[in-house]
Subunit: 136 residues, 6 copies
């Protein structure tokens, strides 16, 4: 009798798609405008989903307010109003594609959430572009 | 060749999170503002999903108009503009968390939908808080 | 060279439409389900708009963060997770229709905002029902 | 370490639900207003999802810009501002229900996308009616 | 102390942009894909706004339920699931652009609404294209 | 018989709020996280509104497709995937607040649109923060 609960939060950040092993020309060819050396940015919407059995006592899988606080403390504080390439430890060498940002957020939160709860990250980079990790 | 179809409906209701086995202090400590004895409320969005093979004759898994009518008759009539704790039979002793409301709606509709169709309920309590039952 | 800026916030509340000068039958006849004595509720979206000239120094008409804080302190603290009829001072005798809630919010904030800025309130009671005060 | 990425595009089209094996009366009885002989129409939102492992080099499962181009070239060019029954090859004999449109789009794109990527189509016919193929 | 209230409804329709005084080539040149002789269609969102003083007795400018019924009876019954060019009396000779549809809806409803209330129509043809009549 | 038409487009950009006459400390004090020297970014939604009389011949105030092309050519080409402070001529000395971005877009488009049409810019910086120029 498992239920999946999800909480949506958002952050605004600058980034640049970039592979340090490649020349500037190669980066421009593959990533186009997304590799602008002066950066561009997005309003990211991040949805954190937890799957488990509701507590008999509270009726909660997880307290939404506590989940919101957990995301703010561990994700938004690190990413909101930041330059993902320059200001965070995660994308010094990892390309900050939506796919990689979702995986990084999953890894951060996986350590903070009890292992009996499944964890999934959904990340909207724009209203039309979205990624989910893990995929199912 | 299964297709999943979904129909969204909404209802407005008051509720209060409350565990009758606990003192008022304990309820306030665990549920915070959500346990206000005078109630608060939400615009709930309920999405009912059915999975099955489209009919060769109609191209439908299920007629969306018939699904909308089924939800209105069996769910909205019971919940819309009601106090979930006081006015419905379901939450006299069950805490009306989003998780429990979704499970209750699933149980109501499961009896009305042919068993060869999988049934899933998605319930938005706010734009940022959503639950799904069953989880997958 | 006036610019209008707007900030959206939300609160969840219970309410009941009710005219104390009328019988219960009259209230039920006029307000229908909205007069349920046990209350129902909504996710209200409130948009506060200020019109004025951007500051030469900051480029702001008003700091959006400061506007958000002002709304939270003066409106959300009073209305969020409350029963508008029972828990607030404003609707003891005033019917909490969307129109009246918007007027009350305008009066609260008008005292907190410099008079050289025009103030307007837009209130969504549901996604399909919205009111604006003043009208233009 | 699979990630699911999704790209949303839209097209506007006319259609009519119709089973050529049935009389007009039978079509009207089963499909109601949706079988109007003069057609009606929708703003369709189509979401194309691909699941696979992000490339070590690019951090992409699939370039979103390339996915957008692929959908425009293979789906939108055929469907946008068209009458699905009259102007496309797909619905001469197949009833253009949302279910069938999703299956047709899946078949078109399945030939264009490398088979190591899972493909899923989500189609909104209205904001309240949506179908997904395959179902999971 | 005027308040503006708005109610959103929707209808789905087929249409074709067409000026009967022009050749087919001229229509195609000016209206492009929108003049497809086999029609295309949209999910139209229509927002009806009324401005006036809230009643002292009810707190309403106008009962939203009554406004919804009025729109359904006078607009949706005529336009929903119809071909605007062929099935309605309004666009036999008038081109069904979003501008003209909004003006027609305004004229229909102006006769049904007390003249002490200002009336405004907002019509979304797509999420990105919207018209308002009158303009202010 | 004037009608207002509006077209929505979007662009993604990096920016930093910054007054060059102030010390870094003063900028940090006034603009907080928005003055991060490494920039942050947004998905901007820009809505361009034109008010005028519909043409008798076309039923258009302005062709939406032509308006979209005009915005893409004159605004999106300059701003999309750019760093507003570094990559554009407009914000070398002007602080790129939402207010100032809207005024700049208005000035760019005012030169391209016939003066018998009123022009208004609405700019969403986030879903919750929006500015309009001119204000009415």
């Amino acid at each position: 009798m498992k239920v999946k609960i999800s909480r949506k939060e958002h952050f605004n950040a600058a980034h640049r798609l970039f592979n340090a092993d490649w020349s500037d020309e190669e980066n421009a060819r593959v990533f186009g405008k997304c590799s602008n050396p002066n950066y561009h940015g997005h309003n990211y919407e991040v949805i954190v989903s937890l799957t488990g059995e509701p507590s008999k006592e509270t009726g909660y899988v997880f307290d939404m307010k506590a989940l919101s606080d957990l995301i703010r403390e561990n994700v938004l504080k690190k990413f909101d109003h930041q330059n993902l390439n320059l200001d965070t430890e995660f994308f010094k060498e990892l390309n900050p594609t939506a796919e990689n940002i979702a995986i990084v957020i999953w890894r951060i939160l996986r350590q903070k959430i009890d292992s009996n709860l499944e964890l999934k990250i959904t990340l909207y980079e724009t209203e039309r572009n979205v990624v989910e990790y893990p995929a199912s």
